[in-house]
Symmetry: C2
Subunit: 229 residues, 2 copies
């Protein structure tokens, strides 16, 4: 057994650096958006020949001088220009053969951003939004990572006001309900949904109404101040 928490002898240390420090460490970000009434995820074309034509999540190796949380924020900011957005660690994925070019353990994060309230920074490698539904196969184990993050998100949506991050500042309750339905993958009863949201005090009535709808307009709401990320 290698005493991880000791590093005592020089020999042990050398051995560590020779064999144990050859594991690469990366972060991968599952960046969710919402458009066309569907949950979307930000992906990039893989440039590994093994995965030619397949989509992969946004990720990067963790730098020696940055925390893993910093690394994930960096990846997010480099691609979206956004800072100070919700970003949370989901899980580490560390199967030996998950990366064809070598041993890379990755730590998955997920984030929620408003697609229309930012511009993608680099359009290299066909960086783009894809509906989660349509991504059958992805590079690496990224479909599995996406599923894990989506599941985590589903567990959280009624606990924390996360989904507001996917919407513009003002939105109708119908928009919010459709978003919840997209994320949860099931229809919700309108009255029960409104009641459930109402008791949480996540919403602030802006006093405004929808415009340009061909029916009775709904009230527009915004995330209330008390509703934290």
């Amino acid at each position: 057994m290698t005493p991880i928490h000791s590093f005592k002898s020089a020999a042990a240390e050398k051995r560590s650096h020779q064999s144990y420090f050859k594991i690469g460490l990366s972060v991968d970000c599952v960046i969710f958006g919402y458009a066309d009434k569907e949950l979307q995820v930000l992906v990039i074309k893989s440039d590994l020949k093994e995965f030619a034509g397949q989509w992969s999540l946004l990720g990067d190796l963790v730098r020696p001088e940055e925390d893993i949380d910093e690394a994930s924020y960096r990846v997010l900011e480099e691609r979206t220009g956004l800072k100070n957005v919700f970003l949370e660690q989901a899980q580490a994925f560390g199967e030996c053969d998950r990366h064809p070019s070598g041993r890379v353990v990755t730590i998955a994060y997920y984030s929620l951003i408003d697609i229309n309230n930012h511009k993608l920074q680099f359009n290299e490698n066909e960086l783009s939004w894809k509906p989660v539904r349509t991504l059958k196969k992805m590079a690496f184990d990224h479909r599995k990572i996406l599923d894990t993050c989506l599941q985590r998100l589903r567990e959280q949506v009624f606990e924390k006001p996360l989904l507001f991050n996917l919407l513009p500042v003002k939105f109708a309750l119908r928009d919010l309900q459709e978003l919840y339905e997209s994320v949860l993958g099931e229809p919700l009863d309108r009255r029960n949904f409104r009641k459930k949201i109402a008791v949480k005090e996540w919403l602030r009535d802006t006093g405004e109404l929808e415009r340009s709808v061909v029916h009775r307009p709904g009230r527009l709401y915004a995330k209330s101040q008390s509703g934290k990320r």
Copy 2:
């Protein structure tokens, strides 16, 4: 930005190995037990001078040829001799300065075992069980890791039949309730607790009664077959 998922040029690859592959990767196991009506955790004396006299969790560097899950099982088995027990990943911890000897990112796992149903394998470094309550300060960020795992455990105890792993095969309902109270850190109403457990069908009545108690003996139960880990 380093293209983590490409490794295209030789120069980039060299740079990767020079700077990015210098992050150590470990697993740390929070191994819970139950004794003296208290939740216990398996710890070892740190042999780092920075943490002289402090307790640390059981961990080890991940080997290049093993999955991270395998690594955590290995740590658990090396110390307890146990295989095929519940062990689940909680979270990765990757602050730059969490390890005084260098950059080591660790992935935390937690496990639940029956203290009396195994023998500790190595008694080096004062490997021992300590009540969670009494561990104020620990080596590294291990107290934080412990807290995270404990919180995760608390969220799960009424969802999955986890705590049975901490008890002997046969136990009275009072034992089970006391265990739940230890883990949750709060008293529970006896009648409501029994009702809550009953509907889950995690228990099988063995037909036996407690012995050598100085009062009316309680029925002994065992984990039912349907109740998975």
